[in-house]
């Protein structure tokens, strides 16, 4: 088991960097490599990083096949309106999935694929289950849900063709400090809209728990989907109260206007977030312990509390003695 080669796609994102950080501490991981369009958010000690654009298929294939990983962890997905507009996000995610998973299929040593997915895959159409488990039918009703369904489908096709296991980690909305999330951004606005007549419950997951789950999936060679959701749930109005924001009750068509207004003010509400706030979004996390050997440390309510506790950037004094500081005169000289 020891000395395995692990390849992480999307290592430049907050979640990908955290996953790579945790994998570096895993005793079974021999060498670690990762790619992304952006550099990692934190210093990685053992990971070899390659900065490659998702549409550069040839370079991705070369990099992945040269590394010849045993385990591929694919977290290179772009949530709509998190770091990119929905159309761009969908295109980037598709390009990355095709390139990385396609390249992995060419690797002889590969025996396990772990993909980051989302509970949006179940959809919230009429008659959909309140708290779907992993066996529930997949009927995505949002752009993001369809995107993660496509990733799972692509990974399953690759796995079937080359005879490896594939595990999908279906995450609830990931929130955490500096994790770009349209839901987190919306809830931190001074005035937060909520659906006055329904205000349904939704669940989230903290970025640390999400990363731990992905690492556990890689460690255990997960070969099935698993829902990763923090225990408990919260409604938008409860979240607003906890964050001491101003609630803005909305009815029916007003929601469309609120979405446009929120977009202008810098917190766009993509359709999957809108769906969560109008139809709710829960999932059954009962199989986490059995499949991953872990449960989330942080409940949904605590994640929301942390969301409102994140400070803005705190600037500290430079750690340079006063005598060593360069005066403006010296600079000009």
């Amino acid at each position: 088991m020891a000395g395995r080669r692990v390849f992480v796609s999307g290592v430049g994102g907050e979640l990908g960097t955290l996953v790579a950080n945790l994998l570096e501490d895993e005793p079974w991981v021999g060498s670690l490599s990762g790619i992304d369009a952006d550099p990692p958010r934190r210093r990685l000690q053992r990971t070899t990083f390659h900065r490659i654009s998702p549409d550069d298929h040839d370079t991705i294939v070369d990099t992945v096949t040269k590394f010849n990983p045993h385990v591929l962890v694919h977290v290179g997905v772009w949530e709509p309106d998190a770091r990119a507009a929905p159309r761009v996000a969908a295109a980037l995610t598709d390009q990355a999935a095709v390139s990385v998973l396609g390249a992995a299929a060419e690797c002889r040593a590969l025996d396990s694929i772990i993909v980051r997915s989302g509970i949006e895959i179940y959809g919230r159409g009429p008659g959909s289950l309140t708290r779907p488990d992993e066996d529930a039918p997949l009927r995505p009703t949002s752009e993001w849900g369809r995107t993660v369904a496509d990733i799972e489908r692509t990974a399953a096709n690759v796995a079937e063709r080359v005879g490896v296991t594939v595990g999908a980690v279906r995450l609830a909305s990931v929130l955490g400090p500096h994790v770009p999330s349209p839901l987190g951004r919306l809830l931190r606005q001074p005035v937060v809209p909520f659906h006055a007549t329904s205000d349904p419950p939704f669940a989230v997951i903290e970025h640390r728990d999400a990363a731990r789950a992905i690492v556990a999936a890689a460690r255990n060679q997960l070969s099935s989907p698993v829902n990763v959701v923090a225990p408990g749930a919260i409604t938008c109005l409860h979240a607003i109260r906890r964050g001491q924001r101003i609630p803005l009750p909305l009815f029916g068509p007003q929601w469309w206007f609120a979405r446009q207004l929120s977009h202008i003010t810098g917190a766009p509400i993509p359709d999957h977030v809108s769906e969560a706030l109008t139809r709710g979004r829960l999932a059954d996390n009962g199989r986490m312990q059995a499949l991953l050997g872990m449960t989330p440390d942080t409940s949904t309510t605590e994640v929301i509390d942390h969301l409102y506790r994140w400070p803005r950037v705190i600037r500290k004094q430079a750690r340079v003695h006063a005598a060593e500081q360069i005066t403006p005169d010296e600079v000009s000289a």
Partner: protein, 251 residues
């Protein structure tokens, strides 16, 4: 596993300080799971979207309408899930007031089956512990160790037991939990209502196929009828009780 502190080593960490230690300390306390309804704080929303504060308020208000006495609740499991099947009179909301009353008796959240999917009523019912009338939804709740109340189809006569949805019974069989019959009586004009939970209904013959759920549904209906007979009728104490086919007794 210790929580990583990314800001300690990186150059970014020297100028930007995130409260990772405090967050990790809070996280290490673990997520609170409330097993007793009375322990739940007002703002708590559970895994199924049941709002503890709203539930408490509505159950308190429901006592204006129904004064329910519950019997046989000691037969229910303490931790495990169970399906409770009640008989229902038309427009009596038997599953709802039964869920409220049993929840109060056992101090555990009790779900009821049959909330609408969507609209303000559906949202309100979900916040009170309502589940969709779907076998997979019921199976999920039972597997999660929840007590779930479902009702037979509503009838006009209080001693009749309507059709029991065998698909919901099948959910209980698949989830490996017991099915309890619970007889309910209530009056449209009075506050008094009663719930008597019987012993768990067992399969009398082992079946491997779907016949098991159909047979068990029939046995539950039989047990419910017996319980209703033992309970007697709800009376108003007025000459209305003498009228047959009134929906209030008179049998």
């Amino acid at each position: 596993m210790p929580a990583p502190n990314p800001s300690s080593n990186s150059p970014l960490g020297r100028v930007v300080d995130f409260p990772t230690k405090r967050a990790a300390a809070v996280a290490s306390e673990g997520a609170t799971v409330f097993h007793r309804v009375t322990d739940e704080p007002a703002g708590h929303v559970d895994n199924w979207g049941r709002d503890a504060g709203l539930f408490r308020t509505v159950t308190m208000l429901s006592e204006i309408r129904w004064s329910v006495s519950t019997g046989g609740d000691q037969r229910l499991p303490n931790r495990k899930g169970a399906l409770i099947v009640v008989n229902a009179r038309r427009f009596a909301l038997a599953a709802v007031y039964s869920a409220f009353a049993i929840s109060r008796a056992v101090d555990r959240p009790v779900r009821f089956v049959g909330r609408p999917d969507g609209g303000p009523v559906g949202a309100l019912a979900q916040r009170l512990g309502g589940l969709l009338d779907h076998p997979d939804e019921v199976a999920g709740a039972l597997r999660a160790g929840e007590l779930v109340v479902c009702s037979a189809s509503a009838t006009t006569r209080p001693r009749d037991v309507g059709t029991i949805d065998h698909a919901l019974i099948g959910a209980a069989i698949r989830s490996n939990v017991d099915v309890f019959p619970a007889a309910t009586t209530s009056s449209p004009f009075g506050r008094r209502a009663r719930i008597e939970i019987g012993d768990a209904t067992r399969q009398r013959q082992r079946r491997r196929g779907p016949l098991a759920e159909v047979e068990l549904a029939d046995h539950v209906a039989d047990d419910l009828t017996l319980l209703l007979t033992e309970m007697g009728d709800m009376t108003t104490g007025t000459p209305l009780d003498w009228l047959p086919l009134s929906g209030l007794g008179g049998n």
